[in-house]
Amino acid sequence: MEYTILILLLPFLSFILTGLLGTRLKPVAAGTFGTAVTGIVALLSYWTAFSYFGAGRNAEGIYPTMIPWNAEWLPFGGSLHIDLGILLDPISVMMLVVISTVSFMVHIYSFGYMKGERGFQRYYSFLSLFTMSMLGLVVATNIFQMYIFWELVGVSSYLLIGFYYTRKEAVAASKKAFIVTRFADLGFLVGILIYGFYTGSFSFTPDSAVIGTAKVFLPLALGLMFIGGAGKSAMFPLHIWLPDAMEGPTPVSALIHAATMVVAGVYLVARMFPLFIGYAPEVLHITAYVGAFTALYAAVVACVQSDIKRVLAFSTISQIGFMIVSLGVCTSSDPHAGGLGYMASMFHLFTHAMFKALLFLGAGCIIHAVHSNEMSAMGGLRKYMPVTHITFLTACLAIAGIWPFSGFFSKDEILAACFAFSPVMGWVMTFIAGLTAFYMFRLYYNIFWGRENRELHAEHTPHEAPLTMTIPLVFLAAVTLAAGWIPFGNFVSSDGQAYRIHIDWSVAAVSLCVAAVGIALATWMYLREDRKVADSLAVRFSGLHKAAYHRFYIDEIYQFVTHKIIFACISTPIAWFDRHVVDGFMNLLAYVTQKFSWVIRGMQSGYVQRYGIWFLGGALGLAIVLLLV
């Protein structure tokens, strides 16, 4: 299966070509080229998945891990070396399919969405770069290769958030995203170094004999790696960059900040899962608590936001929280006894990528139609945009967890895993699932029903998006409808054995009821033109409403800590020391040198013959010295 290397090389080629040719290429040509390449990559990924899973299980009943391509890149001596290669196992193959599908859809969609934008070629070039790095991340053969592509993903996210670089907010958002995730990646890097030092390799599956000596440090290393994952996956309190990242073009939000890049942290934990479960189960459970808190926090905030992309951003954070919780509640690697969460998490990652991309692309169509992100500019759009309406509703039902949409199946498995871990965790996650249903339908009603902004719509009638934008919607909606029926446990499970998904109806019934209550509540509050209930609630709980609207002032706290404490008390003195003491010493040296040179530069008269005399005198002097000595 050496051809899998093409999955990485083709998008890289596309990045180089469209990036270097730039505006010398016609926008349509750049777009077509990028889309065609991504299409080929998607086909290759499907073929890889088909032949990988088609090859069947080995004697132990698991799909073998394959490394079809590998090169030693940087040997450090001993067993420590950094390789670059391609690793195929069930989760990486699954991720290949997810990433290339969503990326392909976004490439097609961007034709319509970015039409006529300045920098169209640059946009496609960055999209290719992102696709390449994300694919490289998931097929990494070792933790260091993963880190390299991890950073590449961060860079391309930065470039795409700041795509509209003339807008101040976009520039600020891109910087914020980069700095926050870089800060988290510091933890990741330190974790990798500790891991490499004590296990003597960067491999995902180190020698178990070596691990014995590293027992104390392995949980520390894994915990530090999780900090990196928490940064990319926007776990509390490192989530602050993701809502701001919505300043980027909407298809980018769909691809990077909803479907693929933000689940990198989940993927990292899943990749290290055998080590987590074997040597650091406590750290794994800590991630579960972090994830649960993040899911709750983001769900509450999502209930009151007015910018539709921000609602979706917080819903993404909340859903990633679900995935992390699901991984974190695993207590063994046997799916029948406490290891169900692994499969559930990957399943939810898969379904979430599809329906969240669909939601974002739908939101893109809506923004395209009304030229605003604010809910106040919308309302009653169902008449104008039937395709967007239906597909958006599909995705809302899926994320709310309604049978038979895909979200139901994956969320049900997550809840079952949570209940198996502890009933408290189970009920908390069920409650958050209810909140999810509520805020998604609040969003849905506010966009498509509810109070219509008639003045705005009369002035500029909203229209359905062009075909290039609706085709991806329809495709993703079809996937959302069908994905739940995939026998996912057959392909991915914590111990690699086939696991038959069975719906636990006691859990499913509860979650369905809670989701139905959430939807009913949202219908009651937001369906009609007047929103008496919602408005009166907002007034009665104005403190809570305001705090949630301002995201519980987390950004302000960050602002305070960075500006008032770090900048004022630490950075300013250090800067003073640098300017006055370090630079001062160098300036002194330069000053002395300059003054001295003024004294002796009279010797440089510029007259050739005077130099000649000096030369002759020197030569004679040397000759005399040589004769005498």
Partner: protein, 102 residues
């Protein structure tokens, strides 16, 4: 048979005449001629030492031939430079050429 010393005396005189000229002439062309005198004195030395000390070898002759060739090229370059200086400054008096400092 003329002794080797006579040749060396001639070349030494040429050498110091050249150095003196190089240091005292006020004209770039005259300085160039002085430099050629120095070079030629060295060439004479090469030939003389070869002829008297190692008569069975030819390195000295060839080396002086090379030196003549190189000095011809060098003279061409120098004259080109001098012509350019003349075009820029309308004379080639050394005392005016003091711009090449700090």
């Amino acid at each position: 048979m003329v002794h080797m010393e006579y040749y060396l005396i001639v070349s030494t005189i040429m050498m110091f005449v050249g150095i003196y000229g190089f240091l005292t002439r006020r004209n770039l062309l005259a300085m160039l001629i002085s430099v050629e005198l120095i070079l030629n004195s060295v060439d004479i030395n090469f030939v003389v030492f070869n002829r008297f000390l190692f008569p069975e070898q030819l390195e000295g002759f060839f080396f002086s031939l090379f030196a003549i060739g190189i000095s011809a090229a060098e003279t061409a370059v120098a004259i080109a430079i001098i012509i350019n200086i003349y075009r820029n400054m309308r004379n080639i008096q050394v005392k005016n050429l003091n711009r090449m400092k700090w």
